[in-house]
């Protein structure tokens, strides 16, 4: 490989992320690879529910929109796309992309990575890794179980030469590590390189969160032009060290501070960040800002990967009902509190797993830390877990009834009910999981690996 660095861009950081930053990256970013991370823990369980209702569904609902906006540009510029938009049905997603490409008049090959769906392997006695280690039998009906596959499942897909690689559940950093490992032909037992590539992936996986999103605060942490936040790329060298950057003229900023915040985001053990590929030590990572909007990343160390895959299991967790109502002006806080007390009293018998907050005082932090100021407005919020939809609906009904039965001047009531899919995790021996790759071309499908 004559190439000295590989440029990997992050075109999406969650399922509903903005569309146009990826288009800017594909057209002006001089990328080799564009990664679209769109799949959270909960997202795949919900996707599985859609697949149960319709066997042709279950992939990301924005697939056509997102990929459609990118395909012609990416193909023209030789940018290969890697995405987990396959969600609960990667093969159907791949076929949809082939169909979309035909419509757009673009010739593409799509490689689909599957094998993450391990629902059939679960047994009720299997213990979860959550705090109590309770067996699966203690949870509600299981709807999904997906192993977090790693770079070793994605590299064979890239080796087919496909323009688009579609996966289901894979570890987010692996989506970025795989193209780098493929481009440089790394051994998948080269733990230090894999750790460095994992750090790069971790920094990129939430896209705008390293370019000033989830960071800005007026005054102390100013970020320019957030309405046009640019998404990041990283130039990675053969050792796995990289330089973060973004397209000139886009909004946002990449600084030592934005990079530091993202480096530790969701990291529960900085000395041992476990992915399917490696156990990475983040404590040895060095970050340095050289020129504006560039941060160099180096120095992670790696240890051998674990013998197990983490599996995310979705189960039916009943329903949550919510209701809200606003008060404003004199005694707004007191009227909102009274409203909450009334609802609690009304639901005490039937819906006891209830939470009452006042938005404007203590809803987000669950405390006001003794803050002395009375708000001008206060919005009472009631939320409860209930085993059935009917019981959950009671919450909104009781809140709405405050219009005519509650404190003075209550208005703007709203209510909702949602089915909840809980998520628990367990570990499964690697040998029990069989990742595979299917190559889709306009007129044929072949098992590639």
């Amino acid at each position: 490989m004559a190439q000295k660095t590989v440029r990997v861009g992050a075109g999406s950081g969650f399922q509903g992320d903005r569309l146009e930053p990826a288009v800017i990256l594909a057209s002006q970013g001089e990328l080799d690879y564009l990664v679209l991370e769109c799949l959270a823990e909960r997202t795949i369980a919900l996707a599985q529910l859609r697949r149960l209702a319709d066997p042709g569904a279950g992939y990301d609902p924005l697939l056509e929109k997102r990929i459609g906006s990118l395909l012609p540009i990416a193909k023209r510029n030789g940018v290969r796309i890697v995405t987990n938009m396959g969600a609960a049905n990667p093969l159907a997603a791949g076929r949809k992309v082939i169909e979309l490409a035909k419509r757009l008049g673009v010739a593409v090959k799509v490689a689909v990575v599957s094998g993450d769906d391990v629902l059939a392997l679960l047994e009720p006695s299997m213990r979860t890794i959550e705090a109590r280690g309770a067996p699966l039998s203690e949870y509600g009906a299981l709807v999904s179980a997906n192993a977090y596959l790693g770079a070793d499942a994605i590299v064979p897909a890239l080796a087919t030469g496909a323009d688009v690689v579609i996966t289901g559940r894979v570890a987010d950093p692996s989506l970025f590590l795989a193209p780098v490992a493929h481009a440089f032909g790394w051994s998948l037992e080269d733990w230090d390189r894999l750790a460095r590539g994992t750090v790069v992936g971790h920094l990129l996986e939430c896209a705008g969160q390293v370019t000033g999103g989830y960071f800005a605060e007026p005054g102390l942490k100013e970020i320019p032009n957030m309405a046009q936040l640019g998404f990041p790329w990283c130039d990675v060298d053969a050792e796995g060290n990289g330089v973060l950057g973004k397209v000139a003229g886009t909004g946002g900023a990449i600084t030592l501070r934005t990079a530091k915040e993202q480096l530790l985001y969701e990291v529960t053990d900085p000395g041992g960040y476990v992915t399917p590929d490696v156990v990475a030590d983040f404590t040895t990572v060095g970050l340095s800002a050289t020129v504006p909007d560039r941060v160099a990343v180096s120095g992670a160390r790696g240890r051998p990967r674990t013998a197990t895959y983490k599996v995310s299991v979705g189960y039916r967790a009943g329903f949550v009902g919510e209701g809200e109502i606003s008060y404003a002006g004199a005694k707004a806080r007191e009227r909102a509190r009274l409203a909450g007390e009334i609802v609690r009293e009304r639901l005490r018998e039937d819906v006891p797993d209830l939470r009452i907050d006042v938005i404007g005082i203590d809803s987000a932090h669950r405390s006001d830390f003794g803050h002395p100021h009375a708000p001008y407005e206060a919005r009472m919020r009631a939320a409860a877990r209930a085993p059935t939809r009917e019981l959950a609906e009671r919450v909104g009904v009781e809140v709405e009834a405050l219009w005519t039965n509650g404190p003075a001047g209550g208005g703007g009531a709203s209510k909702s009910v949602h089915e909840r899919i809980g998520v628990v995790s367990l570990l499964l021996e690697r040998s029990r999981v069989r990742p595979c790759v299917t190559l889709l071309e306009p007129d044929r499908e072949t098992q590639a690996a």
Partner: protein, 103 residues
């Protein structure tokens, strides 16, 4: 003099299941030691007692001038089943920054 962490540090919250992560960074590297001495795991556990039901572990990252707090059972059973208006705990970085220290 008592000062809120918000005046001297910035923070980012993250979630994994029912676990909350809070990363804390001084604006000035020389304040790292101050944070290391006073923003202990115990202090954070006490400050966030209304939200964090489980253990709080602290990791020191002197190379980055950062402290990482890992708070167990902090998200009311987890993102997908929580009743809290912010089930991910994304706003809780600013709850940490409400903590006052001698500085």
């Amino acid at each position: 003099m008592k000062r809120k962490l918000h005046e001297i540090a910035h923070a980012r919250a993250g979630d994994k299941g029912d676990t909350l992560t809070l990363a804390l960074f001084p604006y000035r590297d020389e304040d790292y030691e101050l944070l290391r001495e006073q923003v202990t795991a115990e202090a954070v556990k006490k400050h966030l007692a209304h939200a964090v039901q489980g253990e709080v572990r602290r990791y020191e990252l002197p190379g980055l001038c950062a402290l990482q707090f890992v708070c167990e059972r902090a998200l009311d059973t987890g993102v997908t089943t929580s009743l809290v208006i912010d089930p991910h705990g994304k706003t809780l970085s600013y709850a940490l920054l409400e903590l006052s220290i001698e500085a």
